[in-house]
């Protein structure tokens, strides 16, 4: 019933505490890759305000045994829908301060339309199907972030 999605050699998925370096990610997407003319990056950062609350920090919990599996499936789905070159996806966990990087999705393709679509698809699906949860720390205390209806709608539109 379930087939296990496998990561292609040129793809990279990581769930990690440590920060990532956008320049190195870009290098990994483009070096020795002269066939792809389009690179699209998404970076998600800890912003200072969510629904009117002043954020001081975030804590990201995940379900380790499931996370990589879920992300690998998303990458496989993206590859079924679009002709893509390389895909790199990094999600951080643990405590993150204001302004820190949370997530990176980088996609290359011969044409820009596929790269834009796949990058946004991966983010939209990750937001509803990958087992990460955010806890916000504000001046009024900590609380778990509620899922957004808009994220469910976006993910369903693909």
């Amino acid at each position: 019933m379930f087939t296990v999605a496998k990561l292609q050699e040129q793809d990279h998925i990581a769930v990690q505490n440590q920060d990532f370096d956008l320049a190195l990610e870009y290098q990994a997407l483009t070096e020795a890759n002269q066939s792809d003319g389009a690179v699209v990056h998404f970076v998600g950062l800890v912003r200072n305000n969510n629904l009117g609350r002043q954020i001081q920090a975030l804590e990201l919990e995940h379900y380790p045994a499931m996370t990589t599996k879920a992300l690998t499936e998303l990458v496989a789905e993206a590859r079924q829908r679009w002709q893509l070159g390389r895909i790199r996806l990094i999600h951080r966990v643990g405590k993150l301060s204001l302004g820190e990087q949370i997530v990176f999705v980088g996609v290359t393709s011969t044409h820009r339309g596929s790269a834009f679509a796949a990058c946004e698809f991966l983010m939209d699906q990750l937001k509803t199907r990958a087992p990460f949860w955010k806890k916000e720390y504000t001046s009024e205390g900590a609380h778990w972030v509620a899922a957004r209806d808009s994220d469910r709608v976006k993910a369903g539109e693909w």
């Binding site: 919990e61 509803t128 199907r129 949860w133």
Partner: protein, 81 residues
């Protein structure tokens, strides 16, 4: 034997990260209902509209069948990214 995991807000309000259940429930939905008997918080926060379920690390609907040795996780809608 079924291994059950809880994450995020669910882990906190139930004050439980994991438990093992020797049970003869045959579906994720039956497991959910069995767990909801454990107390008021369990009843409230495990309700199908509040807690998603994953069977062996894959999101499933409540009619997914269970067998001994399975790992089931319950958690709130995800909020990563």
């Amino acid at each position: 034997m079924i291994k059950v995991l809880f994450f995020a807000q669910l882990r906190e309000v139930l004050d439980c990260a994991s438990l093992e259940l020797d049970t003869n429930v045959s579906s994720v939905g039956e497991l959910r209902i069995a767990l909801m008997q454990k107390g008021r918080d369990w009843q409230e926060f495990l309700a199908a509209d509040k807690a998603l379920a994953a069977l062996n690390q894959t999101l499933v609907a409540d009619d997914a069948r269970l067998k001994s040795g399975d790992e089931v996780a319950f958690f709130p809608p995800v909020t990563g990214g």
